[in-house]
Symmetry: C2
Subunit: 333 residues, 2 copies
DNA sequence: ATTGGCACTCCAGGCTACCGAGTGCTAGCG
DNA sequence: CGCTAGCACTCGGTAGCCTGGAGTGCCAAT
């Protein structure tokens, strides 16, 4: 553990580096508020901090830069999660006050909100439809053996998928299928649908099964939304880094598992190499689950350079996750 | 109009520049196949081509670079739209052979396909739902005054939107509303829904109207999908250009109007400044409408640096638009 | 224990020189 | 008359050199 003075110095280095983006030297720190010693002392302390892995020097006789470990200490012990600044919080408020419409749309917009407020890339993972309760099911023929199966869930989302029916069926019989499903399914969930009573008509039963199967498959997917990827181009000036990061951002499954992984480890911040996704070593991730009635229904997060304003980003993600949860739980705000 | 020799030289310059990305000098051209004269003659001709605006010099004593006009001449007269190379065409074929599922998903995947094959950003604009015929409508209550209204259209897409009902309604009465809509709407389109017979129950009628209104609004939107934005980071090495282009790509409405605009002018290629979107002067756009039964239902396109392989890109977009159209028209391939 | 002072390091930026790719022009050739 | 070989010239990029400044580490003094 670091003594008070080292702590103060580390804090000052991180804060300075976050705003200036260039290595910070002992004299700056000596002048910083909260540090009451001379630059020589600061130099000594910084040498120690470097040995212990909190700081690094790009090269001899340059200033110091925080390491991942330095940032980690900063967010764990020094980043007072202070309140969101007024303008940002108004922006978030205004958004959730005026937001309306479908879940998907809402999540997508949330992504833009986060990106705008934090100036970082944002990622929102939506709820799996699996566990939501079915309110209504319907099968609509589209000619030939193709049909669309639609389910309205209790959380207001609509799952739909095209299916290839095992046998061709008249519109009339399809409505009978709809009616059959509509009668027995509502109230159960898509991952564990209630068993349908067999009707004795094998075609009929096969169509029902196909429809259910198809719904269960789509419902297993987690919808992911990414926004503000362009901000990554602003965060780095090495064009190679930008390329790598953008490429990775396009692979949504990487993002999803990244987010899940961080949450599983009980973290809300993963810094640089901590998250283990190689192309994103220069990035940190901040995630927060979204709860509705104590149940996790999704995740919101931002992804930016390790050199990011953690307190602000943490506060933003926190507020957004909270507002989003409230919004989803009662439908108003 | 350019004589044969100038034409050959221009072609050679464009081709060389497309592959090397650096200004091309007279000696390279003199050695190119199809040019049978000495470098001195090439120099003279290039001077003329420069005066006429087909070529430009980054600075005195550098090689020549094609101007927008040069590219334009190239695509109009020199870019033999030759067949798609085998590997690419197999990739496209494999994609459409195995693709299945919802329209949205299909369009989204198409975006990735295009991006992969061309190594450029891809944009796909989907059909408006407005003009599709309604097959089924349903209103499902979600508690309180909110409800979800769902419409299945003849093209297999599903439109859904949450609505705030003018009055609270029991589930039972909502099914009555559904039945009412279901009875009268199928067969008409969302932009011009058939007039519903008044029932005399003003609440009932108001709810119907609200549902219809909401559907009409969502149906007016054109779904846009963008993919492969990261390739822009590979296309340019000025990080500023990357920033600008990425920012613009995130503003989907700009893209939509860009695409529409180019099509309206009867073009399939817009080069550099031609398309009038300032931040994208360094980019060219290739678009192709997607037809189903002679009716345009969408647009596919790619967006890359002006220095792009036009024949290959044109061929790819052409094939994809054609396959997509076929896919959408009969549902199989 | 802290600090002022000092010698040292190393990068960034400005300057110069040079190389090479490329041009434009002209004189000569078929 | 059109083409080409040759030549002088231009100019950007790279390498080398220097210098100023920000920063460090260490030591001796307080």
């Amino acid at each position: 553990m670091l003594d008070e003075r080292k702590t103060a110095i580390l804090r000052a280095v991180v804060q300075e580096y976050i705003t200036t983006a260039s290595p910070v030297g002992s004299t700056h720190i000596a002048n910083a508020p909260g540090v009451k010693v001379s630059s020589a002392t600061v130099r000594n302390e910084m040498a120690v901090l470097e040995q212990e892995g909190y700081l690094a020097q790009p090269h001899t006789s340059a200033g110091r830069v925080p390491t991942d470990r330095g940032y980690r200490f900063f967010v764990d012990h020094l980043a007072a999660p202070g309140p969101l600044d007024l303008q940002a919080s108004q922006q978030v408020g205004a958004f959730f006050d005026s937001a309306h419409g479908r879940l998907e749309e809402l999540l997508h917009q949330t992504t833009n909100l986060l990106a705008q407020v934090t100036h970082h890339a944002a990622v929102v993972v939506g709820p799996r439809a699996e566990t939501a309760v079915v309110r209504s099911v319907q099968v609509v023929g589209l000619g030939g053996r193709t049909a669309t199966v639609v389910a309205v869930l209790s959380n207001g989302t609509v799952e739909n998928e095209q299916v290839e029916l095992p046998v061709e069926m008249s519109e009339l019989r399809l409505s009978a299928v709809s009616a059959h499903l509509q009668k027995h399914l509502p109230g159960s969930t898509l991952d564990a649908p209630r068993d349908l009573p067999a009707t004795g008509d094998s075609d009929f039963d096969a169509v029902c099964a196909a429809a259910m199967q198809s719904l269960a498959t789509t419902a297993a997917a987690e919808p992911v939304f990414v926004g503000g990827a362009a901000s990554m181009a602003r965060a780095f000036d090495a064009v190679d880094t930008v390329r790598e990061v953008l490429n990775t951002l396009e692979q949504q499954f990487v993002l999803v598992s990244l987010v899940r992984d961080v949450l599983n480890r009980g973290l809300s911040v993963a810094i640089g190499a901590e998250h283990g996704v190689a192309p994103l070593v220069a990035c940190s991730v901040i995630v927060k689950p979204v709860f509705v009635d104590g149940e996790q229904v999704g995740t919101v997060g931002v992804l930016g350079p390790t050199r990011m304003d953690y307190p602000q980003a943490l506060a933003t993600v926190e507020v957004v996750s909270e507002r989003l949860g409230r919004r989803l739980s009662d439908g108003s705000n």
